[in-house]
């Protein structure tokens, strides 16, 4: 889906619709904007088996615990 849409992005009309949806989706306030965001998200989501951006280091990251950082900074 993603690649097909990207491929015909140049056609103009679809490109403009996508941009309008991305613009609305970015605001994410009204129901329409949330739907737009959902659509854009779906379009830009690569099927899992083709997801060359999937990476355990990124996907599993939950950040650091504040106390852990403070202990580290103080050399403990």
């Amino acid at each position: 889906m993603l690649f097909r849409l990207l491929n015909i992005f140049r056609a103009g009309v679809i490109g403009k619709i996508m941009i309008m949806l991305a613009d609305a989706g970015a605001r994410n306030r009204t129901i329409f904007e949330r739907i737009a965001r959902f659509i854009v998200g779906r379009v830009f989501t690569v099927p899992k088996q083709d997801d060359f951006m999937a990476d355990a280091y990124v996907d599993n990251d939950e950040g650091f615990d504040l106390e852990e950082l403070r202990r580290y900074q103080s050399g403990k």
Binding site: G15, D23, A26, F44, G63, L66, Q73
Partner: protein
């Protein structure tokens, strides 16, 4: 190199993503990661005023644009050894004896001493090196202060990485183009190998392009991960990029695959170029590059007929003996095939109107012409100096509206090797004061021993850094630099990419860390020229820059994720090209006027010294690190704990070395210690030496420099004329003669003796 934006051609001017609901007690900010030069859009999450997490943007079009370096940054920036207070040297230079001083005390002394040096030796005796990444995002204030003081001697690593490419591209068609990854049908990578955790955005765009059917041609001596996915992989000899492109041009011209209409209407010098190209029949090119002539022809046809094609910027062609010719040949291929400023080709994005760009802040017009002509290196290697770019002032004004446009900050630089010679007392005049901001110049250029000599001869060295780098260890003052978590930023993508993006400040600076912007402001005050920087703080400065679009920085942050204008193609049809002739100069009038060959050419390798029968290349990134930074972070170090040289099984057998064995790799300049890693991807008789290695945990101070004297590849990088590109004076890093010395029970003298180790 900042990455291109994912949507680049329609009316999406303002996108303001709303950050998804944050957890209680967590403050989220939108930021641009500045750990490397990609500028990925990310979100920081802070608890109690401390960034504890960095994740990828909530904006769907920037999804997954994040790598391990950004994720680990909260820990990297709280390392217990981070420099958090101004430090003044109290012992001999390099003795690693310091005392803590206040910013006021430090800047007063720095200002007074700089004024004395300028008065005694002239303004040109002051040189500055900055990376413009990490702590170096100064928005052109450094050049602004230097231009007002009168020094032209600003250098940067971009002299051999993108900045020089920008300057040389402009000689042909007056701008540095950017590949349209999203619509192209064919991508050509010269040695570049973007990966999930290195050049992340570019990797993403290449994979997306391939998935929708675009072709990929990779030219790389190694069978890199990109080469494995390519439609055509040409395993050319290291450093032979220019020869390869002559081969492509031979095929394209002989078979009439070029855009004849564009060439006729917009190019000059085609027939002379054809004569030069005829000197490179495919048999000769095959010999020079080591590639099969049929495959060379096939790749040339693919580039010329599958288009529009792009040849994205590559750091590899930047760093070769024939760099200027190589970059020019890339420009020429783009031009004669009609891929310039078209959808899917290499586009001219221009400047964003209404926004004061970095070049305007730099104020190059105030530096007197007499001082410009004193710029070190401009006599012998002028391509990216004021002298080399002088003839573009009028065309730039005519086409782009400004005389000085410092694309990728690389268009008005001094030549780094010439600056280091002057620092070492071997130049036309002495350099006596050296400032390094956000980079580690000792290890970032060629001939490290000369840089070391130059540093030791300085009267004043000022470094602004996060850590006690080997360069910082030799300074008079080490000043604490802030991190990208701790400062706001307004990125204009170096006047290369027509986008402007804000980055919010996520937390207060730690300790007494200050931004590079603040450093220049304090310096202007300290040298008695406060009027140079009239803004009280960085927010006021940003408001000034954004006034033309009617927003304050805060309003810009609130309403905008990325700001740009609709792309217009073939702009040259209205304005002509920003060259002296207004055309694409296949034969460069500027290079000719500077006394060089106006046509590209190929200088073959000098004969290999008997003692050094192997070749090495350096400059390749490792995923956990950026340049010389990052080795203090335990998680990153665990991934890449030691400097490892890659070589083929045959080469390992020839030199009787095994995986994990420690060896020295040496040449006439010195030796570096590396661990062997046998790689199936490596061609025979070629070594990959990792860039930028030092170990922050090792002993500091002159004679040790935290392992830099043992591991830094810059010790092997030559800067003699045979190994410099003529027009730019940048070093040849892709094919330096070397040898392997096994470590054994011999003394160092015996071990490093070229006759000590038999070659089997």
């Amino acid at each position: 190199m900042p990455a291109p934006m994912p949507i680049g051609e329609e009316a999406l001017k303002h996108t303001k993503p709303v950050i998804r609901d944050a957890r209680p007690g967590v403050v989220s900010k939108r930021a641009l990661c500045q750990t490397c030069d990609m500028q990925c859009s990310v979100v920081t999450e802070s608890v109690d005023g401390q960034v504890v997490r960095v994740r990828s943007s909530d904006n769907p079009i920037f999804r997954d644009h994040i790598c391990m370096k950004a994720i680990i940054s909260p820990k990297g920036f709280v390392h217990p050894d981070r420099v958090l207070h101004p430090m003044k040297r109290v012992g001999e230079r390099g003795s690693n004896k310091w005392e803590r001083v206040s910013w006021e005390e430090a800047m007063a002394d720095i200002g007074a001493r700089l004024n004395d040096i300028v008065e005694e030796h002239g303004a040109e005796s002051w040189a500055v090196s900055t990376s413009q990444w990490n702590t170096g995002t100064d928005h052109g204030l450094g050049r602004r202060v230097m231009n007002h003081v009168g020094s032209p001697n600003w250098i940067s690593g971009v002299a051999l990485c993108a900045g020089n490419t920008a300057a040389v591209n402009r000689l042909t068609y007056g701008w540095f183009p950017l590949g349209d990854f999203h619509s192209t049908k064919c991508i050509v990578l010269f040695g570049h190998n973007p990966r999930r955790h290195s050049w992340t955005m570019i990797y993403n765009y290449i994979r997306l392009a391939q998935a929708r059917g675009a072709k990929l041609i990779v030219l790389d001596p190694r069978e890199s991960s990109s080469a494995m996915r390519a439609d055509i992989h040409l395993p050319l000899k290291a450093g032979s990029d220019a020869a390869m492109m002559f081969g492509w041009l031979k095929v394209i011209m002989d078979e009439g695959l070029y855009d004849k209409k564009f060439v006729k209407e917009w190019c000059i010098g085609f027939e002379e170029l054809r004569e030069r190209v005829n000197e490179f029949p495919l048999e000769r090119v095959a010999k020079l590059t080591g590639c099969d002539p049929e495959m060379i022809a096939k790749a040339a046809r693919m580039y010329a007929t599958e288009g529009p094609s792009i040849i994205p910027w590559t750091p590899i062609t930047d760093m070769q003996r024939n760099s200027t010719s190589g970059i020019r040949l890339q420009s020429i291929l783009r031009a004669i095939c009609g891929y310039i400023d078209v959808r899917g080709g290499d586009t001219f994005q221009g400047l964003v109107s209404g926004i004061v760009n970095d070049s305007q802040v730099e104020m190059h017009e105030v530096l007197p012409q007499e001082q410009k002509m004193k710029q070190l290196g401009s006599e012998d290697h002028p391509a990216y100096t004021y002298r080399g770019q002088e003839a573009l002032r009028e065309p730039m004004k005519r086409v782009w509206g400004h005389e000085y446009i410092n694309q990728v900050v690389g268009c008005y630089m001094a030549n780094p090797p010439s600056v280091f010679k002057a620092m070492a007392g071997e130049g036309p005049y002495p350099v006596k004061a050296f400032f390094a901001l956000g980079n580690n110049p000792l290890m970032s250029y060629s001939n490290m021993n000369r840089i070391l000599k130059g540093l030791m001869k300085q009267e004043l060295i000022v470094v602004q850094e996060h850590f006690m780098t080997p360069t910082a260890q030799l300074a008079d003052y080490v000043l604490p630099g802030d991190t990208w978590h701790e400062r706001p930023w307004l990125s204009d993508l170096f006047e290369w990419i027509g986008f402007v993006r804000p980055s919010e400040q996520s937390m207060e600076p730690m300790g007494e860390a200050k931004s590079t912007w603040e450093f220049w402001k304090l310096l202007a005050n300290a040298i008695g020229k406060p009027e140079i920087i009239p803004w009280n703080n960085i927010y006021e400065f940003y408001d000034y820059r954004l006034k033309g679009i009617g927003k304050t920085f805060q309003e810009f942050c609130d309403t905008t994720d990325v700001h740009f204008e609709p792309i217009k193609y073939r702009k040259y049809e209205k304005t002509g090209f920003a060259t002296p002739s207004g055309k694409v100069e296949l034969k460069s009038s500027i290079l000719e006027d500077l006394g060089f060959d106006g046509l590209p050419y190929f200088r073959e390798d000098p004969p290999m010294p008997k003692e050094y029968p192997l070749k090495m290349f350096t400059g390749v990134r490792e995923d956990p690190y950026f340049q010389t930074g990052g080795r203090h972070i335990p998680e990153m170090r665990a991934r890449s704990p030691e400097p490892r040289a890659f070589l083929s099984t045959k080469t390992a057998n020839d030199w009787n070395v095994e995986t994990d064995e420690w060896v020295d790799v040496s040449n006439e300049l010195g030796a570096v210690r590396v661990q062997i890693e046998i790689h199936a991807s490596m061609p025979d008789d070629l070594l990959r030496i990792p860039h930028g290695w030092w170990k922050p945990e090792m002993e500091r101070g002159a004679g040790k420099l935290s392992g830099a004297l043992m591991y830094s590849d810059a010790q092997l990088c030559r800067d003699d004329p045979e190994y410099l590109d003529s027009e730019q004076g940048i070093p040849h890093l892709k094919g330096i003669p070397c040898r392997i010395n096994k470590l054994n029970t011999q003394s160092d003298e015996e071990r490093l003796d070229p006759h000590a180790v038999p070659v089997t």
